[in-house]
């Protein structure tokens, strides 16, 4: 390899991956620029491992879509872009790789850029950058390329530094799903993570789905005394009245951001080799809520790569298919639409002990 390191060799640590030259599962690698620290989650491209790709992508704040200058937009690129769109990632950088193979010619880049752009727009993605690179030779990765003087915009590293960090939605109404209730030296403390807004002592809150009211007496943290806490913080809460709280309850402010219903409409991706067939009862988990559900209607069954509708009013959803569905829950669910507060608008379906689908509320 004349002194060069194959990137795949850094990320692919399983013997099977190195021997077969494929990535099986996501790997995380860490680096930092002067601006901030990064974690690269290398997501496998192979169709067998889409659940691993989704596991990686669901933790990401931005996506780098790598398209081979030689091959263009393939089936897997399409599938990944569709899933990225569904997961609500909006910061996208498209990298056109292997420019060295096409002699660094601008015409190839422009042609491919147009093709990719058209496709991504069709799935509601609007990339921030298109960058021609050769990962092997380092062109436009960390340094501007001598071989592509026609390209004047950012390198990959510069484009990464221009992205913005996701911030938890502090400016919205309070959403505090209760994770557990601890009894510590005679005190009952409800713990959880604030998903939106601010919580402060003395605040009047509603308890969903029941609708009762109470007042926050104190915020409990170890060795720390504080009167308010914001979205993203894992805290404990004591209330003034001895109200009954349990996992799955959601404390919220008066704002009408949360819906309570036993019916939701959703797009979901099926991630199990064993298909779903209507009539099967499965579990749904949203934030800390858990309930049995019935998928009452499968309006469309869609190919996750071509986005072609395979069947309307279907009776099953197979592995890697997208379903546009109506779900009936056994217990009322507290939620928002995915585009309002995504932490409260996304869920997984669980069969036995296993996560078998991920979905968003539409």
């Amino acid at each position: 390899m004349d002194g060069k390191i194959e990137f795949a060799f850094i990320m692919d640590h399983l013997r099977e991956e190195r021997e077969q030259g494929i990535t099986i599962d996501t790997a995380h690698t860490f680096f930092h620029t002067e601006k901030r620290a990064y974690i690269i989650i290398d997501a496998p491209g192979h169709v067998e491992f889409v659940k691993n790709m989704l596991t990686g992508a669901s933790q990401a704040e931005a996506a780098l879509l790598i398209v081979d200058a030689n091959e263009g937009v393939g089936k897997q690129t399409r599938r990944h872009a569709n899933l990225v769109s569904m997961l609500g990632l909006t910061q996208i950088i498209v990298v056109i790789n292997k420019m060295d193979i096409v002699n660094y010619e601008e015409i190839y880049f422009n042609r491919l850029k147009e093709e990719v752009h058209k496709f991504l727009n069709s799935v509601n993605l609007d990339p921030d950058f298109y960058i021609p690179i050769s990962a092997l030779k380092g062109d436009n990765v960390a340094r501007h390329s001598e071989n592509m003087k026609w390209y004047k915009s950012m390198t990959v590293l510069e484009s990464l530094d221009s992205l913005v960090n996701e911030v938890p939605p502090e400016d919205k109404g309070l959403i505090f799903p209760i994770q557990d209730v601890y009894k510590i030296s005679g005190k009952r403390i409800a713990v959880g993570r604030i998903e939106a807004g601010t919580l402060y002592s003395g605040m009047e809150v509603r308890i969903l789905p029941g609708g009762g009211r109470t007042t926050v007496k104190s915020i409990e943290k170890f060795n720390e005394s504080t009167d308010n806490a914001v979205a993203g913080e894992s805290i404990g809460v004591m209330t003034n009245d001895p109200v009954f709280l349990e996992r799955g309850n959601v404390l919220c402010s008066e704002e009408k951001e949360l819906a309570i219903d036993d019916k939701i409409s959703s797009s979901l991706i099926w991630l199990s080799k064993k298909a779903f067939t209507k009539g099967e009862k499965i579990g749904l988990r949203l934030a800390t809520q858990e309930t049995k559900v019935d998928i009452s209607e499968i309006k469309e069954r869609i190919d996750s790569s071509s986005l072609k509708i395979l069947e309307k009013n279907a009776s099953s959803i197979d592995n890697l298919e997208i379903g546009e569905v109506e779900i009936k829950t056994k217990k009322p669910l507290v939620f928002t639409k995915f585009n309002a507060v995504k932490e409260m608008g996304r869920f997984v379906l669980v069969r036995g002990n296993d996560v078998v689908a991920g979905g968003i509320i539409t």
Binding site: L14, D25, A37, D180, Y182, E233, S234, V348
Partner: protein
């Protein structure tokens, strides 16, 4: 909220989630910097107390400083400590002078297996991090081990958002990894911020310090003059020597960690 706050809040969420799901849990404590940081986070998650046992898998080959530190903080933090050893293998002379894979398997993996069976734990907290080793970079936050203790790394469950694999079957246990997303530098910056005590071996003496501690015969120190937390943090920002470079396990062969971990090694 800064970078360390985010990491802390996420780890506390994971710790509370696993306790809610499994109740019968324990935390593995090697007395190293990562599992000690994890213990600190567990104390934070449960507002000062650790509501489950802390398990030290003792190979009998640990540094004396490690044993001293363990006993001191077990008292200070009021821990329910379980020390578990593969006494039979130790009595039969198992040691690192024999094959290293065999020694790790018998004194660590098998001792751990035995402890899980004896106490019936359904989930174990471990302080591993993705940036430590390429194999650990592949891990999930909730990672199942089957009845033979094996890690099926080719078929891991999906983990979307903060919804983790739930309720292990009776015959398996789950490994819970609250520090997976932390780096070595994050750990040290957090240790400094939170004033978490660590074993003295990490600080340089006579031009050498330990980046990673464990069994005395199988770790060696690195060249370093970092004798304070600030100097360690500065060193890590500049070094290109890997954290586990002093670890014999990582040197044996390229895939030794994969083999060890597939068998249930920590």
């Amino acid at each position: 909220m800064d970078h360390l706050d985010k990491l802390e809040n996420n780890s506390i969420y994971i710790i509370r989630e696993a306790y809610n799901q499994f109740q019968k849990v324990a935390s593995l404590w090697s007395i190293g910097k990562d599992s000690t940081t994890l213990l600190h986070l567990i104390r934070k998650a449960f507002l000062g107390e650790v509501p489950f046992p802390v398990v030290h898998i003792d190979t009998s080959y640990k540094f004396k400083e490690i044993y001293k530190f363990r006993d001191e903080y077990t008292k200070k933090w009021n821990l329910k400590l379980i020390v578990h050893r593969n006494e039979e293998a130790i009595a039969n002379g198992m040691g690192p002078n024999k094959a290293k894979l065999e020694c790790c398997t018998q004194l660590k993996t098998n001792a751990l297996k035995d402890a899980i069976n004896k106490y019936g734990f359904r989930a174990l907290y471990l302080g591993i991090r993705r940036d430590e080793h390429g194999i650990r970079a592949k891990e999930r936050v909730f990672s199942p081990r089957d009845e033979d203790f094996e890690w099926d790394y080719k078929n891991q469950p999906p983990e979307l958002w903060d919804q983790y694999k739930s309720k292990a079957k009776e015959e398996e246990h789950l490994r819970v990894h609250p520090l997976l997303g932390w780096t070595e530098l994050d750990i040290w910056e957090y240790i400094k911020r939170e004033e978490i005590p660590v074993v003295g071996l990490y600080f340089a003496k006579n031009g050498k310090r330990f980046r990673s501690i464990g069994c005395q015969p199988c770790v060696s120190p690195v060249e370093s003059n970092a004798d304070t937390l600030d100097k360690i943090i500065q060193e890590l920002k500049e070094t290109d020597v890997s954290e586990r470079s002093g670890r014999a396990q990582d040197k044996e062969s390229d895939y030794m960690m994969q083999k060890l971990r597939a068998l249930g090694y920590m």
